[in-house]
Symmetry: C2
Subunit: 242 residues, 2 copies
């Protein structure tokens, strides 16, 4: 690898900043501060989402910024109902652990953002959306991750509330028939970005070793590489919160 070949790489410090956003991003539920999110910051984050790749450059997303307390309360009611239903999937200690988990910040966060997908945008023949019709939903998820990482860099926490009925969201937000909710996000400044995911610290699940997830050429053939490669952590700038 010569420097010439890799002339488009970021500087070490800039690269480390990108990895730090990726590594220290959290799904935030319980550390929101009440402080408002300035429009200036919100729009930087939404513009970052809008710069995601999309199938056929269709940009199928919209962003519904939900500040209204009545709408949020109604969304919370939907969450409570679906969450009670979901809790019944677990028994014994697992049920108790589930009940103890904080899984949303709908009312505690500064603002909610519903990221939707307009399934009609770009017309009937979106370039590249022919073999996989859900490619527009996938594009919308790429926008969500841009949003999440930009927010992290801004010091803004994001939590995805997935325990919601899409029909409830569509009704509460007045979505047209051709528009579906993909992600319901809670955004706000935080008291903490936890060092590890909440569900890992709570003992609900463990981080899988990435090595076991990498195959060579075909499924089930482990990708063998030097031990040095396996051992290295993500590059991370050591800068503490200032």
């Amino acid at each position: 690898m010569t420097a010439e070949v890799n002339s488009w790489a970021f500087s070490d410090t800039d690269r480390a900043a990108v990895y730090r956003a990726i590594q220290t991003r959290r799904d935030v539920r319980s550390h929101f501060r009440p402080a408002a999110l300035p429009d200036e910051v919100l729009f930087r984050i939404l513009a970052a989402a809008h710069h995601a790749p999309s199938v056929g450059f269709s940009q199928p997303w919209d962003f519904i910024v939900v500040a209204d307390a009545v709408v949020r309360q109604a969304v919370k009611v939907s969450f409570d109902r679906e969450n009670a239903r979901a809790a019944e999937n677990y028994e014994g200690e697992r049920h108790e652990l589930y009940q103890s988990l904080k899984l949303e910040g709908i009312l505690a966060s500064a603002v909610n953002v519903c990221v939707t997908c307009d399934r009609a945008r770009g017309g009937p023949h979106v370039l590249g959306r022919n073999t996989v019709l859900d490619a527009d939903l996938f594009s919308t998820c790429l926008a969500v991750q841009n949003l999440w990482l930009a927010a992290r860099a801004e010091g803004v926490g994001v939590g995805w509330v997935s325990i919601l009925a899409p029909n409830d969201l569509a009704r509460l937000l007045g979505l047209p028939d051709h528009v579906v909710p993909v992600a319901y996000l809670c955004l706000g400044y935080v008291t903490d970005f936890a060092p590890t995911p909440d569900l890992e610290r709570a003992g609900w699940g463990e981080r899988i070793a990435v090595d076991t997830l990498v195959h060579r050429d075909r499924w089930g053939h482990p990708y063998k590489h030097s031990d040095d490669t396996a051992a290295q952590p993500l590059p991370e700038s050591p800068e503490p919160p200032c």
Copy 2:
């Protein structure tokens, strides 16, 4: 906004690096260099993907690194067939423009990576995957975007080839029944990250003004904000490629 409230924000330069990755990331098809991708770089990028959020911390993704020429040639055959079929969706000038577009870098890139989703991972009751069963596919897309941005910071181009039949990929890569391909990506060093998306430069589509995509509280109510907010571009560090 006091500094105290926003104590988790990145420094201005680190924040700009994150925005630069987001803004200068491209869907690369025609600018790949033949140079190999070192394992060290590849695994940093895959580790970044693995640090994406996932529903119930299920981490449903796997990464099949396809270097083998026979597999790649077979994937290219699938692309050629599906692309010919897709071209029939367009007529006249639009058809000619479609035919002129370069939509894949399967053989020209250093390596291909198929990102899959194991729909059985985490068992029958993944936390948060109750109202939307495709939440595992959505998580896998978040991992793809992490991969894409990490690659940009490394100076590595990524192109998502969506014009492929999932059944072909599943067969060629030997996927078990419970594992589906989500993204087929081409990775490699590049001669160029184009200043704008290929499809925009080719006149296939235009960037939508983000303002028109932001609603307040309910669909169809424009989010009004100060003109200053609307006008500001993403913060970007001016550092040229070194």
